[in-house]
């Protein structure tokens, strides 16, 4: 492994940018933590289009970086292509799978984390009506939704889940007004717990829940601190850990190419329990969620990933 001081690292965010309140931001936090812990700096770039992703990756690869972390599935093809051209540069692709023996593809079992969120929501709801608000109707978001539904229905078969998407263009990730309006509409239909997986639009959802005194579930990073008192929990997706670990493995010389699917067991996804939502999580809920969590880790409960082509059972 190269000497730590000489280690050259890069992070390439996708169009969402490093403050997207979602996986890009999480990646940024992981890389920053690594920098704080080791003193090793990293280069960061945002690629606004697929063409730029390729341009950026190639540019960084030419600078002979040791490891480049590409954040977001939109960079899948670009990583595959550039990795082939630069066999000596290593790549980590977050949320997608790219071929190449210098690529480590990290995916997350969002369905598992969402399952926990669904269980928690189903335990907390009084109306037996749960809400889900996604950004755009794409497989990744559906995976969250389906995991959530599976979890909820595991608690009560008759649970109703109202699902809405914010929009169809990238503006859907930046439309808190719509995110809030969707939540309001769901609340008016009797929903009392809502799970928002919509980047910046989700902020509007969480806020509306606060305003209306309903419960909300955050996503990606631990968002419990945003509105203590109405944030039931957050479904954390540890992109930060994935980036941090990759960088650390690079530093320690243990980095390996391949495909890593990170579920609860691997510390990739989880629910968040902290001081901010302690009061909302009754011992009963906590016990139930922890039990389910253990079953998933032990393989006793299998959560279906719709990306594998299976239909959503819930």
């Amino acid at each position: 492994a190269p000497a730590p001081a000489a280690l050259k690292l890069g992070v390439v965010y996708d169009a969402g940018g490093k403050f997207d309140k979602s996986f890009n931001q999480s990646a940024f936090e992981g890389a920053s933590r690594f920098k704080k812990d080791t003193g090793i700096n990293f280069i960061e770039v945002q690629a606004s289009s697929d063409t730029q992703a390729e341009q950026v990756l190639r540019g960084l690869a030419r600078k002979k970086l040791d490891l480049i972390a590409s954040i977001g599935f939109a960079q899948t093809q670009a990583v595959a292509k550039v990795a082939k051209e630069f066999p000596n540069v290593r790549f980590v692709l977050i949320d997608g799978v790219a071929a190449g023996n210098n690529v480590n593809s990290v995916t997350f079992k969002e369905e598992e984390g969402s399952y926990l969120a669904g269980v928690a929501a189903a335990m907390a709801t009084k109306s037996k009506k749960l809400g889900f608000i996604g950004g755009i109707d794409i497989p990744l978001i559906r995976t969250f939704g389906c995991g959530y539904a599976q979890g909820a229905k595991s608690v009560d078969k008759n649970m109703t889940i109202v699902q809405n998407m914010v929009g169809t263009t990238s503006a859907a990730w930046n439309d808190p007004a719509k995110g809030g309006e969707l939540a309001r509409s769901q609340f008016e239909r009797g929903v009392d717990v809502v799970f928002a997986v919509a980047g910046g639009s989700g902020m509007g959802t969480l806020q509306m829940a606060k305003e209306k005194g309903k419960l909300a579930i955050g996503v990606d990073s631990n968002q419990n601190h945003l509105y203590p008192g109405t944030m039931l929990t957050s479904m954390v997706k540890r992109v930060d850990n994935a980036v941090y670990d990759s960088f650390m493995q690079m530093k320690n010389g243990t980095w390996k190419a391949g495909i890593t699917a990170k579920g609860i067991k691997e510390g990739g996804v989880d629910w968040a329990l902290d001081a901010n939502n302690r009061k909302l999580i009754t011992p009963e809920i906590e016990k139930k969620v922890l039990g389910v969590r253990k079953d998933i880790i032990d393989g006793k409960t299998k959560v279906i990933d719709i990306r594998s082509g299976a239909a959503c059972p819930a």
Binding site: A15, V45, D50, Q52, T76, T168
Partner: protein, 359 residues
């Protein structure tokens, strides 16, 4: 007041002064962001124009913009404000992709490329047809319908891509990658100095399109009828122009041109269709058509300028983290404002200078 100025002044001096003013405001903003404007400008120019690789990215972006700019321009000639180039290019990409998915395994490249272009043009035209038809036959305001069709296209494409085009098990919201035969020949194949950049023969196709546009609009009798329709519908009717047909045909051409914009983006660069691949190129087309005054040379220069801002701005933001890429969106706006909307800002001053010298 302006027809008193000599030609060199209106054609060269005024636009330059305007461009300088825009850059001056931009420099002020860069300064406020805590960076050195002169150095930044050097980096910008260097990485967008001087450096061959950068230049070829600039021209790559310009190729798409020329098509969307042409799409908006030709509609404007008929007095139609087509805000829908964005959606038309998006749907055009679907036509192209359809052709590729059907034939990329069986046809050679020299048939695949025309097939892709045909698919793109056809679908783009189709998407423009409905607003055109509604304008011609029902008098539905084209500005409204094309805006609506942008939204509808976004929903439709979202649906089609997610439901039908994503290969099973893939995360990326994109179609499969096309075969190598479906790639537009790149200029770097002949000019290695351009580096590994996506600049491809679409650029030449765009230039040809510009030339054909110029000839059709100003030299053909169809173009004469087109402009008459745009300038005075009554006189055009008097002259025997079939106004409804003219509106529909123009929108078909406009949509086809917008659709062709996708060829450069998809077959020239990514080789797959993805969600939101248009990324605002259709709206940039409006700015380009307006700034370039619907003239081939104006369209070309504006397209290159916008390409340069994207490429140069991108590189600059890499070097100067204090200057986010969004700064260049702002600068684009400034340039459009100064060069496109306030073109005669300095005419009185210039006039005084010239008059003063003569006296």
């Amino acid at each position: 007041m302006n027809n008193d100025l000599p030609r060199w002044a209106t054609a060269v001096a005024l636009p330059l002064l305007n461009l300088l003013s825009a850059l001056l405001v931009a420099a002020l903003v860069i300064h406020l962001l805590g960076e050195d404007p002169v150095e930044s400008m050097q980096i910008l120019i260097n990485s967008a124009i001087v450096n061959p690789e950068g230049l070829s990215y600039t021209l790559f972006y310009a190729s798409t913009f020329i098509f969307t700019g042409l799409a908006v321009s030709i509609a404007m000639q008929a007095g139609l404000f087509n805000i829908g180039a964005e959606g038309q290019m998006y749907v055009g990409g679907l036509g192209l992709t359809w052709a590729m998915l059907a034939f990329d395994a069986s046809l050679p490249w020299y048939l695949l490329i025309p097939a892709g272009m045909l698919g793109a043009a056809l679908f783009g035209a189709l998407w423009a047809f409905i607003p055109g038809y509604l304008q011609a036959k029902r008098g539905s305001h084209i500005v409204v319908t094309t805006i609506m069709f942008n939204f509808i296209a976004a929903s439709l494409m979202n649906f089609v891509i997610v439901k039908y085009l994503i290969p099973p098990g893939e995360q990326n919201t994109a179609s499969r990658v096309f075969s190598a035969a479906a790639e537009m020949p790149r200029l770097s194949d002949w000019l290695p100095v351009l580096g590994d950049t996506p600049l491809n023969i679409s650029f030449f196709i765009a230039i040809v399109a510009l030339a054909i546009y110029g000839l059709m609009v100003w030299r053909s009798s169809w173009g004469y009828k087109l402009r008459a329709t745009g300038l005075n519908k009554h006189a055009a009717h008097y002259a025997g122009v079939k106004i409804s047909k003219m509106i529909i045909v123009t929108m078909l051409i406009s949509g086809a041109l917008a659709g062709l914009g996708s060829v450069n983006s998809i077959m020239g660069s990514t080789h797959y269709l993805s969600l939101n691949f248009v990324g605002g190129a259709g709206f940039v087309g409006i700015a380009i058509a307006l700034m370039g005054r619907q003239h081939p040379i104006g369209i070309f220069l504006s397209a290159v300028l916008f390409g340069a801002l994207i490429q140069g701005g991108f590189d600059l933001s890499l070097e100067k983290p204090n200057i986010p890429t969004e700064t260049f969106i702002f600068i684009q706006g400034l340039i459009i404002l100064f060069c496109g909307a306030m073109e005669y800002l300095y005419a009185p001053v210039l006039m005084k200078l010239i008059k003063g010298k003569q006296a």
